[in-house]
Amino acid sequence: MTILIRGGRVIDPGRVNGPADVLIERGKIAAVGPKLKAPADAKILDATNHVVLPGFIDLHVHLREPGFEYKETIASGAASAVAGGFTAVCCMPNTNPINDNQSITEFILEKARAAGLAHVFPVGAITKGSEGKELAEIGDLRRAGCVAISDDGLPVMNSLVMRRAMEYAIAFDLPVVDHCEDLHLSEGGCMNEGLVSTQLGLPGVPAAAEDVMVARNLALAELTGARLHLAHLSTAGSVRMVREAKARGIKVTAEACPHHFMLTEEAVCGYNTHAKMNPPLRTWADVQAIKEGLRDGTIDVIATDHAPHATQEKQQEFAAAPNGIVGLETAWPLTLTLVEEGVLTLEAAVAKLTTEPAKAFGLKNGSLAVGADADVVIANVQEPWEIDPARFRSKSRNTPFAGWKVKGRVTTTLVGGKIVYEA
């Protein structure tokens, strides 16, 4: 099918930023330019007052299948993705069983193909069972389609194992992703350690639990020369260390999640389990540091850490409730707040959702170059709306942003030239 997206402002970071039309033929970008002529059989999509962007890429989601289909399935997660403008998502391996072998990777890819919505790129485990002991068959995982390796929420505590993983991954040019948390320092903790945890009597996780592992990982990246990607930075210390490491030429990329630049530990007051995540919401000073890191490029990527949980799981005592929130369907308006505040230009904000994540994981997606797969988002930046979890495509509703009045909406999402979502 031939599609002409007409009348919008195209932002293809580093390439195009201005009024242009986008012509899609046979699933590929055929032309980008002003006032393109519509071929006779073309379906016209009117993008007046809208921006036309490469489809977003989320480097950090939990799709829960196999094992936790009551929270999310690959199909429901992919539907949630395209509703939020994400045409590609990278799913973490903490399923049951864990994605530490090619058969699980193949299962995920098969389910994603059947869903036919967003591209799903699995992230394989670093160690067998994510137990932090023996390396998983990383070569097999790569061949089966994994784009990175991570033990995510079960971070590799043994520094020697992490070193070996980094060295081994070099042969496959795979980024090693780490959720930086010293499990001894964080043991038992369920929110940021600070004044609020003192008041609420909740066990805290100090910023140092993240900082010491960021420091370790940077040292190992320097030692091995491997590609390191740091997941969901939440502390000022992390940002400072990554900035310094980048200046010294260490191959590191980093991501931040919208909740870590939108909210502080104060959101936990009242024992709000929708404000419980790992890493936890930190202080105002940390939020400022995350924003500064996004502004100066220390933090390359905005990722959501989309973590669906069933309602009854979050309706528990705070310490018993699981960590995490859904993020795919709220990322665009929350990212736009950075533009409104002057932290990022609109183009830079788009880059952190498209070209930068593509670069970090070596994906060919994320651009509107002629010949590229036509993964395209049409969105606006000004439409006011209220976040209503009942309308989410995700199976889960766990968000601290329910009822927030935000601006900017995804109106149409195309994957491979096919319309997969229309608001």
């Binding site: 600070g194 003192t198 008041q199 609420l200 009597g201 066990p203 805290g204 309706q315 005592e317 705070f318």
Partner: protein, 306 residues
């Protein structure tokens, strides 16, 4: 004035006036416990459920006596003999209890915030009888009641809270309550037992017990949770006791007539020397007696029986 709260979840949101109202209400009930027939009909026809997810003898018994002396019907419900072991959530358990028309649920739970979670999900009044490390508001109220009985005035009273403040709901409730009514609060203990920013709750921090005790009017000893030794909070009970145990010698550093308090149960010879626990300065048993009166006052105020 009247008590405008439906629940008693923590001391933090109460005003000094509201705290004083609770103490005054308790005054009128203290006399009841001294009567031949220890009962008034104030809560006749009301149902109070003690929902205890942690073992407790003192607090549960105190609430039970308080409710019975007000003529309420009392049910004790604890997880060992309930459906909780079958995986029922706190809210479902509570809704079932509520469906039996409970007017008040008294909750003791190991998770901070459990009382708040419960209060948000049921129509009954909820009294927090201790939630994790968060608060134990009736303990602070009975401590204040006891202090007022012995010292008359709160203003300028110097109080040292000694021990594991970080993991103590009693400490948190008392810090809030004492600072609200105008007392000076010191916290004393090793830094491993002090939560982040404790001074910003209006306290002064002392690493050294002798310095912390100098000139105080009241010493509140916290129970050392012996099982925490393996958690690197302190090296041995022996060393803890040597550094932070209250002895007769150390008691002399406080003002003459200083009071010694303890929320119980005490570890004799660990945080408190036996002769101190049994001394004239000790008001530990007064605390227990007053607990019943204060809890009667709270039940009375929350049920709107006034």
């Amino acid at each position: 004035m009247s008590f405008k709260h439906k629940h008693l979840l923590s001391i933090a949101p109460l005003s000094a006036e509201e705290i004083m109202l609770v103490l005054e209400t308790a005054d009128s009930f203290k006399e009841v416990s001294g009567r031949e027939i220890k009962k008034v009909p104030a809560l006749r026809g009301k149902t109070v459920v003690n929902l205890f997810f942690e073992p407790s003898t003192r607090t549960r018994t105190s609430f039970e006596l308080a409710a019975k002396r007000l003529s309420a019907d009392v049910i004790n419900f604890s997880p060992s003999n309930s459906s909780v072991v079958k995986g029922e959530t706190l809210l479902d358990t509570a809704r079932n209890i509520e469906a039996m028309q409970a007017d008040v649920i008294v909750l003791r739970h190991p998770a901070a915030g459990a009382a708040e979670t419960l209060a948000s999900g049921v129509k009954s009044s909820v009294i927090n009888a201790g939630d994790g490390w968060h608060e134990h508001p009736t303990q602070a109220l009975l401590d204040l009641y006891t202090l007022r009985e012995k010292k008359r005035e709160f203003k300028g009273l110097r109080v040292a809270i000694v021990g594991d403040v970080a993991h103590s709901r009693v400490a948190r409730s008392n810090i809030h309550a004492l600072t609200k009514v105008g007392a000076e609060v010191r916290v004393v203990g090793p830094r491993t037992m002090m939560p982040y920013g404790i001074e910003r709750l209006g306290t002064r921090l002392y690493d050294n017990l002798e310095e912390g005790l100098r000139g105080v009017d009241v010493i509140m000893m916290l129970r050392l949770q012996l099982e925490r030794q393996g958690r690197a909070l302190f090296p041995t009970i022996r060393e803890y006791s040597r550094l932070y145990g209250l002895t007769a010698e150390r008691l002399k550093l406080a003002e003459p007539g200083a009071l010694v308090m303890h929320p119980g149960p005490i570890n004799r010879g660990v945080e408190i020397a036996p002769d101190v626990a049994d001394s004239f300065s000790s008001v530990i048993l007064d605390q227990v007696t007053n607990g019943v009166a204060v809890r009667m006052g709270i039940l009375y105020l929350l049920t709107g029986a006034n």
